[in-house]
């Protein structure tokens, strides 16, 4: 886009890059904020249906479409309270820390082949690292509120998130290993085609580890049955007990943003990203390189595909939330340390062995070469010469300089 602005519109370079950055940031922000509006409405409807109620029915017609908007206006109009003993600076800062962490992780999330804020070579790693920062805002909020309930909630959250980062990291490593790259775009591209190419169906180990990932993802974004940080039946409202109005809604947006993010991560890592269960674009005769308009259409289609998968993931999380009872803290820790981590480790080893002995899978013809051969640094097993182009070598040299 920056090149387009420079070459066609004739803006100067710095203005073009600034405009590009602002557009990307605003788009991502709207995914979070707009997504939160829709998801809050969906959550209320789903919760209602699961509990044999109707949920919101009045605001905005029969289905209560505008309920979230009405809530938002209500929150804007609420008084911004702060407890007397609170640490003012930290109390005010905490919601922004949470929200920023959730927002930053979206920067490296690809929505379609080229629809990505910033294509990082270590995208997966970056997202996992930044997502871990969200808990920081929660702990600050819990501490700064000068309230027992908040502090309890924050401590629980810290213990939980720090523990669940271990199995989560192990689950994320498996698709990275299969794709030979931490670049999320590359990982999704490797799963192009029919749904049989998804890493979910790559081998039995990845199928199992996907469910471990789902468990850990739900735990790491603090959703029921792992929502001990809020635990409204024991801790009033946990870490955000003392928050009201807009600050409270930042926590809420961060939560829904993270939910969407881990679902989109699941889609990219295990379910092909923007590559659908059916390669619709290919069947329609559209592919990369048919022309600019066709390219754009393919990517738009891919974006809807990814958004659909991520939304499905969020809806499943809601379903789980209103179905399962909350775990106790010791049960949460047991799930993490005694089940998730060993299973993830075993599945990781299994996937590794599978990749070593059955790299092509059970079906012939699926050749998935390992990283160093694919990138042309070493000679492949099939007598393929090291076809490292000069540019590649130069790039590597440049990195190390």
């Amino acid at each position: 886009m920056a090149e387009f602005l420079i070459n066609t519109v004739g803006l100067s370079a710095w203005l073009a890059w600034t405009v590009t950055a602002v557009v990307a940031a605003v788009l991502v922000l709207n995914v979070i904020a707009g997504g939160a509006l829709v998801f809050i409405w969906a959550e209320r409807k789903i919760a209602g249906r699961i509990q044999d109620r109707l949920g919101p029915t009045r605001t905005g017609g029969r289905f209560g479409w505008l309920q979230s908007l009405a809530d938002g206006i209500k929150l804007l109009a609420k008084e911004d309270l702060m407890p007397e003993g609170a640490d003012g600076m930290l109390f005010r800062l905490a919601p922004y820390v949470s929200f920023c962490a959730s927002f930053c992780a979206f920067i490296a999330l690809p929505f379609a082949f080229d629809f990505i804020g910033c294509r990082l070579n270590v995208g997966v790693f970056f997202v996992v690292a930044v997502l871990g920062l969200e808990v920081f805002g929660v702990i600050l909020a819990g501490y700064a509120s000068a309230s027992k309930w908040s502090l309890f909630g924050a401590m629980r959250e810290a213990a939980q998130v720090v523990s669940y980062e271990v199995p989560l990291g192990m689950c994320v490593v498996v698709p990275v290993m299969l794709a030979g790259s931490m670049d999320m775009v590359t990982i999704a591209e490797k799963q192009a085609g029919w749904f049989t190419n998804w890493y979910l169906f790559h081998d039995p180990f990845t199928f199992v580890i996907f469910w471990v990932y789902v468990t850990c993802a739900v735990a790491s974004v603090n959703r029921a049955p792992f929502d001990l940080a809020e635990a409204e039946s024991e801790l009033v409202a946990g870490f955000h007990t003392e928050y009201s109005g807009l600050r409270w809604s930042y926590f809420f947006m961060a939560e829904y943003g993270s939910m969407f993010l881990v679902s989109a991560m699941a889609a990219v890592l295990f379910m092909g990203g923007w590559n659908g269960p059916i390669p619709l674009a290919t069947l329609l005769g559209l592919s990369e390189g048919t022309g600019d308009t066709a390219n754009y259409f393919v990517r738009l289609l891919g974006m809807f595909n990814l958004l659909g998968k991520a939304t499905l993931g969020v809806l499943v999380m809601m379903w789980v939330r209103w179905t399962l009872p909350r775990l106790r803290i010791d049960q949460v820790m047991t799930t993490c340390l005694k089940y998730c981590t060993p299973i993830a480790a075993a599945m990781f080893a299994g996937a590794m062995l599978w990749q070593l002995f059955l790299p092509g899978g059970l079906a012939p013809g699926l050749d998935r070469p390992a990283g160093e051969i694919r990138e042309g640094w070493l000679e492949g097993p099939g007598g393929r010469a090291a076809t490292a182009p000069a540019a590649e070598q130069k790039k590597v040299a440049q990195v190390n300089r």
């Binding site: 710095w14 809530d71 930290l90 690292a129 810290a158 009872p325 990283g371 790039k395």
Partner: protein
């Protein structure tokens, strides 16, 4: 590179907006943030605020790494240091939440001593930084399209990168041995931590009885039954807005 970026940043500040070197501007921004927060860490009284400043300072350092094109190191910085600070923060809150430790005052003598040590270290660093004849600069401003694969391969003992110009030719080993040593070291630390932290079992039968009776009586099924009670969740939805 630091000095060069600093110079260009200073020059750019005097020029109109279009001529600003954005790389240097962001470098200055992150560098100033890192330095100011680092000073704030030692001047703050409250443990949690210290941790906050520490995280900001480390985050700004990660920003510098990203700016230099070292994305892997930047993400690593976020993951390890910010995660580590998080644990520090938790312990800080747990140990100092009571009244006498909420604020930590530094004695004037300590302050002066720390100032002397810090100033002398800064002087040494500055001297060595400015005594470098010429900093190696990246080829075209920002390093383009970096990849973490060479790092991973080097950790497995295979160097795929080209040796820097002027270094002796020959087989270069990777970092497999240091990597393994660090791994084993960490494993030892983990085992030791688990040993120290595990529940101590006394040998006397009396103590075992006491321990057994102190077990929490709530069974899983009982808890599940409580959790399933519809009034808890449903009621809060009606009262507490979207929840």
């Amino acid at each position: 590179m630091i000095a060069a970026a600093f110079d260009t940043g200073l020059v750019a500040a005097a020029l109109p907006l279009a001529a600003i070197n954005w790389h240097s501007t962001f470098f200055l921004l992150f560098a100033v943030l890192a330095c100011v927060c680092a000073i704030a860490v030692v001047t703050a009284d409250n443990v949690v605020r210290m941790a906050l400043y520490l995280v900001l300072s480390l985050g700004a350092t990660a920003g510098l790494f990203f700016l230099a094109g070292a994305e892997f190191v930047g993400a690593m910085q976020l993951m390890i240091y910010v995660g580590g600070t998080l644990v520090l923060l938790v312990f800080g809150v747990m140990l100092t939440a009571q009244a006498p430790f909420v604020s930590i005052k530094t004695a004037p003598g300590d302050r002066a001593l720390a100032g002397i040590v810090g100033a002398s270290l800064l002087a040494v660093l500055l001297l060595s930084a400015f005594s470098v004849e010429e900093w190696r600069k990246p080829a075209a401003g920002v390093v383009g399209d970096p990849t973490a694969t060479p790092i991973g391969m080097a950790l497995l003992g295979v160097r795929v990168d080209e040796p820097p110009a002027g270094s002796p030719a020959g087989v270069r080993s990777g970092y497999l041995l240091p990597f393994e040593i660090v791994s084993v070291h960490l494993l030892v630390v983990l085992v030791a931590a688990a040993y120290l932290a595990r529940a101590k079992r006394r040998k006397t039968p009396r103590a075992i009885e006491v321990a057994a009776s102190a077990e929490p009586p709530a069974s899983v099924a009982e808890h599940a039954a409580i959790g399933r009670e519809p009034a808890g969740r449903g009621g809060s939805v009606l009262v507490g807005g979207p929840r």
